[in-house]
Amino acid sequence: MSLYKERFDGRAFDEVRPIRAEVGIIPSADGSAVFETGGTRAIAVVRGPRTLHPQHMQNPQKGILRVSYGMMPFSVWDRIRPGPSRRSEEISKVTEWALSSVVDLSEFPNTVVDVFIQIPQADAGTRVAGINAAAMALADAGIPMREMISAIAVGKVDKTLIVDVNKMEEDFSEGEGSTDIPMAFTSRRKNIALLQLDGKISTDELKKAIEMGKVACEKVLEAQVEALKKSKSKGIENE
């Protein structure tokens, strides 16, 4: 029997936190979006494609994607030292890899598309919120993408599998403790674009967790698509 029988916030085990998504929040950017689940909020800004400097980093065959993730100092209870850290560099890199699996920059040789992700408020699952916001911002920037991408964190708290982990669940230390599995799926082919694991889990349970994540990502995708379509539905009949 698992020690975690009921979730702290009363959600069902497969229920995601309330989502708020909005596109085009920063007028000066080429593309921008905000994605919120519960107490976690991510802002993504896309700039480019533009010429890449320094020149030796340019790829004459296709443009490159450059992601920078950062938590704001006031995003958690203890102040976070601003600037790059081991953790933020890691998340920037895995986000870049996840997004690279869907964007197609072959039309833009020697250029860079910059994605800036900022977390003004964190309650676990910031990297997945960042990926969700970045996918919307990239679409908003008109970057060619084969499909959308949506992400969710599945967790194991003691022996219970749960979807969309919050900070309290992530810090659960009784019994088997807490395992955090952030994952991202592409919208069309349902390929796994990101899969990380922090903790311990059996193979069978991991497979189950991935299936749960896949189902939950449908909810995320729905919110992303709705936000994108809403941002441009005004006034088009007029043009």
Binding site: R50, A141, M148, N238
Partner: protein, 235 residues
């Protein structure tokens, strides 16, 4: 413009199913389906399926009029930054007068603004020309940057909006499809007024009855003395 209902699509969305259709700009084939590769408006004409972008950076197209700034000079032409992914190339042979090699700076120097026509778009180069009437170096006035996706609203139906601005504000306006707008008037006050009106159009680009709103806004800013200055078409 088709009469078909305009639907907004997101990347990865199936546009149409069936092997008879051809994927065009912003679309690709995945098995039986033609799928959107870009965020935009679905457009099906005959068998060609396309996605027309609604946002993002400016993409040059053949025939576009654009405004840019000279950022580099090579031995046979100028490189022009127009806010796109790469710089445009203006060849020495695409300017209206003969220029000796090595004297390129006398005609166009670094930082000079130009209005040019997109002549050719290849995968890794954009070539522009200023040989036709109405194109050339921009002197005086000011250049403002607006969202390139809002440019059609500044121009209006068959140029009606630009005409309205020119007539009521007395400034000469050149709109580049890349979102750069050149304003040239008798006085700085006139130019600033015109700039405000253009920003008003961009901010309210999605509203219905924009022309009336703009007329009202111009009135609020105060009447100009209705003097139309000569247009800059001598180049």
């Amino acid at each position: 413009m088709s009469n078909e209902e305009r639907t907004i699509v997101v990347p990865g969305e199936t546009l149409v199913s069936g092997n008879d259709y051809l994927p065009g700009d912003g679309a690709y084939r995945d098995g039986k389906d033609v799928v959107a590769q870009r965020f935009g408006i679905k457009n099906i004409s005959e068998k060609l399926v396309r996605v027309v972008p609604v946002s993002g950076t400016y993409r040059p197209r053949k025939g576009n009029t654009i405004i840019g700034v000279v950022v580099d000079i090579t031995f046979n032409g100028w490189l022009i930054d127009f806010g796109g992914a790469q710089n445009a190339f203006l060849s020495i042979s695409e300017v209206p007068r003969y220029i000796n090699k090595g004297e390129l700076r006398d005609f166009l120097d670094f930082g000079d603004a130009v209005v040019v026509k997109v002549w050719d778009v290849k995968s890794r180069s954009v070539e522009v020309s200023m040989k036709m009437r109405g194109f050339g170096k921009l002197e005086g006035g000011m250049i403002i940057k607006v969202n390139p996706n809002k440019v059609p609203r500044i121009i209006g139906k068959e140029g009606s909006m630009v005409k309205l601005l020119k007539n009521s504000l007395g400034c000469s306006i050149t709109v580049g499809q890349n979102g750069y707008v050149w304003i040239y008037g008798k006085s700085l006050e006139d130019e600033i007024k015109t700039k405000k009106v253009i920003e008003f159009i961009v901010d309210n680009a999605t509203s219905i009855g924009l022309t009336e709103a703009v007329e009202k806004y111009i009135h609020e800013l105060g009447e100009s003395d209705f003097e139309i200055i000569e247009e800059n078409t001598d180049k």
